[in-house]
């Protein structure tokens, strides 16, 4: 099912990208997320850190915005069985409508996969998103506030998420008459996972600095 969804997304993007390049705008970025993960479970708190790298592509067709992003990396624990290293892969698709030049509202679907020695866990995160990009008075410089609330989220084969939200706040800079763009942002994610069986509720937070650079093609 997940593979089919990913294939569908790739097909849609592949169909839209050539037209967007000539008629509208295609943005491609790559960067890193210096992430810190903190997990609170049964009165104990563990922390992992790591660097995720990845990229994103956004197609702008009039007021329609379609974005696809992916991040992958390793979160390093303290080496104990309770805090092992975890490989993470996250893929997200967003579809939005720009109601104003600075305001986009849309939906987001994300799949996140955690691969540790103990096994593989997958999350499905579904919800809405709001992006606000106000100009800051300097040509090409804009603020960024991105908030995604994902209430229809669950752990695959496990409990649902009582709260899932992701927010990114920072700056984007696209020099006038240049195809380059850059982003500096702080990303914060919170996931409250419901209790299942003997296991109690589990609270997770991801946070860190995000730096991306990329290009814009088209008008």
């Amino acid at each position: 099912m997940r593979r089919a969804s990913a294939s569908l997304v790739l097909v849609v993007v592949a169909l839209l990208v050539p037209g967007a390049a000539s008629a509208q705008r295609l943005s491609l970025t790559g960067g890193g997320f210096n992430v810190q993960r903190r997990v609170f479970l049964q009165n104990s708190l563990v922390q992992q850190t790591g660097m995720w790298i990845g990229g994103s592509g956004t197609v702008r067709l009039g007021k329609l915005r379609i974005g696809l992003s992916g991040l992958m990396g390793t979160l390093k624990g303290d080496g104990s069985s309770s805090n092992p290293d975890v490989k993470v892969r996250a893929t997200a698709l967003t579809v939005g409508i720009a109601f104003a030049p600075a305001v986009t509202v849309g939906a987001q679907v994300e799949a996140r996969r955690f691969d540790a020695d103990a096994g593989i866990t997958a999350w499905r995160l579904i919800g809405g998103c709001l992006r606000f990009e106000p100009g800051l008075g300097i040509p090409g410089l804009r603020g960024l506030a991105d908030l995604a609330v994902l209430p229809a989220s669950s752990v695959s084969g496990g409990p649902s998420l009582k709260m899932a939200l992701e927010t990114t706040v920072g700056l984007t800079f696209s020099p006038p008459r240049s195809v380059l763009q850059a982003r500096l942002a702080y990303r914060f994610e919170r996931f409250d996972i419901g209790a299942q069986g003997l296991a109690g509720e589990r609270y997770e937070q991801f946070r860190g600095l995000m730096v991306e650079v990329g290009v814009r093609l088209g008008r």
Binding site: G137, L144, V169, R207, L209
Partner: protein, 372 residues
Amino acid sequence: MRLRGLVVLSVVGGIACAVRPAEAQVPVQRQLAAARQHIVNLNADSAAQLLQSVLDVTSGASPNERSWAYALLAVVRLAEQNRNGARMMFEQSLRASPRLPVDSLAILRDLDSEAEIVFQEARVVVQGAARGAVAPAAPLLLDYQVSRDTTLSGPQERLTVTPLPTRPARTVVTVRTAGDVSVLWRSDTLPAGVSRPILWLPRGPDGRPLPDNVYVFDVTGIDDAGTLATPVQWRMRLTALPPVTQQPPRPLAESALLPETLQVRQRSMVTLLAGAGLGVATALIPTALGRAEVNKGLSGDGTVYVVAGSVTVAGLVGFLNGRRAEYSAANTRHNDSLRSQYEERVRAANRANELARRQPPIRLVREGSPNR
């Protein structure tokens, strides 16, 4: 009484004698003019009848008038397709007065295009007959001046040919295509004693050059005594040269255009508030959105302050150096004017090049010239 009668008789006789020549002179001239008009009107019979009456011994016509009458009668014979008769009439005309037909040759030519040729034949006969009695006149020779190799660049630029007869004579230049007997162009007759160049425009009415070919030039001349010059001839090769076109004007440089949208400095409180608001929001996110259990033990997150500070500073800088786009109608008009001028220059260059292609330079080289 007898004396008075004699005086009256003398006066009457004198008047009668004086009136007679006047009556005889006027009708002859009128008859000649009427005969000419009949020829023009294609009434050959009427013309012949009038001319015969002029040639009658009782008409009182002078030698010049008789000569002219014979000449007109020759034209009548030509109209009757009687070439021999025409030549004989010209011979009579020349015998009556050798000058008049020569002076009136243009009129005769207008009346009949063959008149000049037949007249020359008659003249040869008459001169040949006269040679036995008088000393031959010095031959009339012709020379000419024409450039050996010339290029005519402008659409109105012409080839100059200057006939140079050895004594005053009327001269004509004709041009024809090599291998073609029909005359392509014939100059006006240059009067005797006048030395000036004859100008030939080797182009069609639309300014296009005549076809590349060899053209034959003939100069003929005749003096007042009716002596024909030995014709001279030369050949020139005409070649249309490649047109001289101009480069199209260079496109307008971007630097020549003024910005149509100006960045006008404007401090915006919204910018300041947006930057500050985002900065504060960024700094508060971990505590505002995070759970206390998870945040426990976090004394401070440096990265959040880096980003919060950056956003705040950006908002402040944007406030201090903020600009807004403002449309400049004056600059737009200026740019439109430059574009219009450029387009007009392009159109002018295209027009000039089109004309240059249609009317290219022409090179004329005399055959036998070392520049061939």
